[in-house]
């Protein structure tokens, strides 16, 4: 597997929320290598708090998280910052439609295809984040 995204045209502020700490930190590190500034949250509540405290260009939210699930977090973040691009992460194909309806730009199925993830980042960088299924 090789990096597909290349050098970003601008640095994004990214929030990654996943209760699997190793996974969340790995995603943060990979996006960091690509030159973005990444914050990590480990549950839904923390994700909403972080998103309220500062503004992010891109939020990656796991659907199944403790204290507040990803869909609830998505709804709350969207109500406060409608312009934020949100991409959901899930191992459950059955939840894809639900999260798109809730207003996510797209859904990444776990195991996450990193090329696909970096494509979402590129879309966020170029500001072409129209809402629709991945």
């Amino acid at each position: 597997m090789t990096a597909a995204a290349g050098i970003p045209t601008r640095t994004l502020r990214v929030l990654v929320a996943d209760d699997n700490a190793d996974f969340a930190e790995n995603i943060a590190e990979i996006l960091g290598i690509e030159g973005h500034s990444v914050t990590v949250a480990y549950d839904g509540e923390e994700a909403v708090r972080r998103a309220s405290a500062e503004s992010f260009d891109l939020v990656l939210l796991d659907v199944k998280m403790p204290r507040k699930d990803g869909i609830q977090a998505l709804l709350e973040i969207r109500s406060k910052s409608p312009a934020t691009t949100i991409v959901m992460l899930t191992a459950y194909a059955s939840r894809v439609d639900r999260v798109i309806q809730a207003g996510a730009l797209g859904v990444l199925r776990k195991p996450v295809d990193l090329t696909e993830l970096l494509r979402f980042v590129q879309r966020a960088v170029s500001g072409s984040g129209s809402h629709g299924p991945a």
Partner: protein, 413 residues
């Protein structure tokens, strides 16, 4: 050469053949038959009496068969079992007449028991409800007693004849009901296994995907870190490649388990079989020592099927074939149209499947591989059956294995 079969597709001569080839051996033969005989009170004397009565009964065999099937066909639910129409009923009448004659001819030995066991299995396989067997057998009983009543026997001879006929028919019934019982137990066990797999699949999906996600992202990050540092360390890439391959394999196992548990309905469209076979061979990473050949009839063979599911089936078969061949051998994938069916054969020159394992190969969790889940062929069978097809395995330890899938031809062409 031995065979296993699964699925629920069309009938052909070949299929009639192989009906008798699987799961027909009676369990613990000696003791079961002897036990039933002892319980029915059936002795060698009964065998001798039956043989003596045969000339009186044989001329009426066809007439009894006619009455027997008239009774069954008169009943709507029973009639529904005979899906192939008059030809099937005519054939079955002939079989019943032969059965009646052999009832009297004997010898009532182990071979007799085996042939009776096979007949019992046919009842189970065509899904004739067990309740009809008793009524039908009583009809035979009444007819045979009627023949004895009309025969020029002494009163004592007639009484003994009646007793013997009752005993042999009790024996027959016991064997048939044992077949039903065996089938019922097998199905209950299978359902239990399937439910367990479903529960395991749901839990494995979440619990295994998470650590796999960490490994996957770590490998990716390591490659990027090395790339950015311009570092070239001998052997690192090779090991990262190995981790990637193992990851793909692990994901496949998790996906197989989920597919099996979910049993998704096919999303069908017109599919070129050549493309499916090509893709499966590419995905399988066939070892360089194995010659893989794809033969598809010109101009093309298409089916109306779910391309992802069908590719998964062929991929599983190709991987099994490669596993059976090891480093070298010949793998031939072929597709052809045969009447209203399309057949896909996956043939290898591998080690073959021992006859004892053949009836088990489609059972979930059955595997002889040290790294297998035992789900590949079960999934294949489920998918093929959901497409209205059949899947058969013909194997010998000398010549290797051929798996044949028969699917309904694409009528939309």
């Amino acid at each position: 050469v031995t065979r296993a079969t699964a699925g629920d597709g069309g009938e052909d001569e070949d299929r009639l053949d192989r009906k008798s080839d699987i799961s027909c051996d009676p369990p613990v033969e000696e003791s079961l038959f002897d036990e039933i005989k002892r319980f029915a009170g059936f002795t060698d004397e009964d065998s001798r009496r039956l043989l003596a009565l045969m000339p009186a009964v044989a001329p009426h065999a066809q007439e009894i068969a006619d009455k027997f099937y008239a009774r069954l066909l008169d009943h709507e639910e029973a009639r529904a079992v005979f899906t192939e129409g008059e030809a099937q009923v005519r054939r079955l009448k002939g079989t019943l007449a032969d059965w009646l004659t052999s009832l009297f001819r004997g010898p009532h030995d182990q071979e007799y028991f085996k042939s009776r066991w096979r007949i019992g299995n046919v009842h189970v396989r065509i899904r004739l409800p067990e309740r009809y067997v008793f009524v039908a057998m009583n009809l035979v009983r009444r007819e045979l007693h009627g023949i004895l009543d009309e025969s020029p026997l002494s009163e004592a001879g007639r009484r003994q004849g009646h007793e013997t006929v009752d005993r042999i028919l009790d024996l027959e019934l016991a064997i048939i009901t044992e077949s039903y019982q065996r089938d019922y137990t097998d199905r209950i066990m299978r359902q239990g296994r399937l439910a367990a797999i479903g529960q395991i699949a749901a839990s494995v999906n979440h619990e295994i995907r998470n650590p796999l996600g960490v490994i996957n992202t770590s490998v990716y990050a390591m490659r990027r870190i090395l790339e950015k540092a311009g570092a070239k360390i001998d052997g690192i890439d090779r090991h990262l490649d190995k981790i990637d391959r193992s990851l793909r394999r692990s994901h496949k196992i998790v996906n197989d388990l989920l597919d099996f548990a979910r049993g998704r309905s096919p999303e069908r469209k017109q599919v070129e079989l050549k493309q499916i076979l090509d893709e499966a061979v590419q995905l399988a990473s066939v070892p360089p020592g194995i010659r893989a050949e794809i033969r598809v009839e010109e101009p093309s063979v298409t089916v109306f099927a779910d391309p992802l599911q069908l590719t998964n089936v062929i991929l599983n078969l190709v991987e099994n074939a490669c596993h059976a061949m090891g480093a070298s051998g010949d793998l031939v994938l072929s597709a052809a149209t045969a009447g209203d069916r399309v057949t896909i054969d996956v043939r290898d020159t591998g080690t073959g499947i021992p006859a004892a394992n053949l009836p088990l190969v489609f059972e979930p969790l059955f595997t002889t591989k040290s790294t297998g889940t035992g789900l590949g062929l079960s999934i294949a069978r489920n998918i093929v059956t959901a497409h209205g097809g059949t899947i058969d395995v013909v194997s010998s330890t000398e010549r290797g294995t051929t798996v044949r899938i028969a699917l309904p031809a694409d009528e939309r062409r």
